[in-house]
Amino acid sequence: MLGLTKGLKYTLKNLTKQNVTTKYPDAPLELPDRFRGIQKFYPEKCIVCNQCAAICPTECIQLTGKKHPDPAKKGKIIDTYDINFEICILCDLCTEVCPTEAIVMTNNFELAEYSRDELFKDMRWLDENDANIRKENKV
């Protein structure tokens, strides 16, 4: 019987305690700076080295480059850059290998869509996704 009363005491004590739930959908969730959310992509920084596509464990990144329009300059610039968020596991490896920090993580994580097709994000979308970028990557 003692154990039962002890348990009852514990729950009663918690009745008056401050609850610990967050107001998530009403108020935004505070996330630490390192949080791995949806990537932000800087097309102007990209040198089309293909390392992100190569390191991606799920092969969700596809990119193509084109010749630099200015014939005086060497190298390539990015033409298309797509991430398929159906299979992206937000493992952070692409941002880790990127030599120019052209792809960085943000704190955004809300990816729910009504159609799978909308999870296929292109370069423009990734470029516009520029809120809550990690502090160390901020320009």
Binding site: L4, T11, L12, N14, L15, T16, Q18, N19, V20
Partner: protein, 334 residues
């Protein structure tokens, strides 16, 4: 007024009056159920350091249950193809009707009572026994193995716990010398029977938890074992009926406990200026709160232990209580 109506010759007017009274009581009971569910969720929420319903009906979620019931009402009515159709439809009604029937004899205060029959207590116990059939039927008719197991468990549990439940109130009947619930309350003018037969009260309380199949005796609908127990195949409004029956029984059982052991509408000494109905409501709420509190704390008991507990612990205790009560009556109440 009821007395007068009961003794006058029958007629359509009388039928109408009784019908309206019944409807009013049903509305009150439904109101109680609505807010009992909300209160349960809120109290459990606060015990579990969260806030419970808080979306519909303002900050306190006052319309949450209404929305839930509305959702159940507009849900598709599904009857499994291989279910026993007539029984499947009959079961929720059979489970719910007795739970409301028993309220007819319940005196809520000196004036608010319906049928003041001489064997009120016996009537309550007899009629409430019918519900077990509804649950067993529901479990059988669904043609589902989980619901069958749930139905069997609930029938076994209801029958086993009815015996200590009845035995434990014999003490109260001895004190009063009457089965009439109003007389029982009148008998507690000076001291509540809870203090005169504490063993009886405890046995009654535990058995009533089992009769209501609430934690720690919620085996018939043990979610983690039987998914949902006897109503696993029910959905929509038929399911709501089972739920309703459960909560109306909670209402009835808490009322009965207030009447039998806590002195009904009798006030605590020196606080007699507060009307009887309020006293009744307070005592009643206390019992409901304790039941919710227990639900928030205890794990579930096992089926074989449940039976053992009923037959080997509660029943002997209840029998002992009869002797003790008789002695108490002989020594102190003469």
């Amino acid at each position: 007024m009821i007395e007068h109506l009961l003794q006058s010759p029958p007629g359509w007017i009388h039928f109408l009056i009784f019908f309206c009274l019944g409807a009013i009581l049903l509305a009150i009971v439904l109101g109680f159920v609505t807010y009992a569910i909300l209160a349960e969720r809120k109290v459990l929420g606060f015990m579990q350091i969260r806030i419970g319903p808080n979306r519909i009906g303002g900050r306190f979620g006052l319309l949450q249950t209404v929305a839930d019931v509305f959702k159940l009402l507009i849900k598709e009515d599904i009857i499994p193809k291989l279910a026993d159709r007539p029984l499947f439809i009959l079961a929720p009604i059979l489970a719910f009707a007795p739970s409301f029937l028993v309220l007819a004899v319940m005196p809520f205060s000196e004036n608010v009572k319906f049928a003041d029959i001489g064997v009120g207590l016996l009537y309550y116990i007899a009629v409430s026994g019918i519900s077990a059939i509804g649950m067993l039927l529901g479990g059988w008719a669904s043609n589902n193995k989980y619901s069958l197991l749930g139905g069997m468990r609930s029938a076994a549990q209801m029958i086993s716990y009815e015996i200590p439940l009845v035995m434990s109130v014999i003490g109260v009947i001895l004190f009063t010398g009457s089965l009439n619930l109003t007389d029982i309350v009148e008998g507690q003018k000076h001291v509540a029977y809870m203090f005169l037969s504490p063993i009886g009260f405890i046995v009654f309380f535990i058995s009533s938890l089992a009769e209501l199949s609430r934690t720690p005796f919620d085996l018939p609908e043990a979610e983690s074992e039987l998914v949902a127990g006897y109503h696993v195949e029910y959905s929509g409004f038929r399911w709501a009926f089972f739920m309703l029956a459960e909560y109306v029984y909670l209402f009835a059982m808490a009322s009965l406990m207030t009447v039998l052991f806590l002195g009904g509408w009798n006030p605590i000494p020196f606080l007699g200026f507060i009307p009887g109905v309020i006293w009744f409501a307070l005592k009643f709420s206390l019992i409901v709160f304790i039941m919710i509190w227990i639900r928030g704390t205890f794990p579930r008991i096992r089926a074989d232990q449940l039976m053992e507990f009923a037959w080997k612990v509660l029943l002997p205790l209840a029998l002992l209580n009869i002797f003790v009560s008789a002695a108490v009556k002989e020594l102190f109440l003469k």
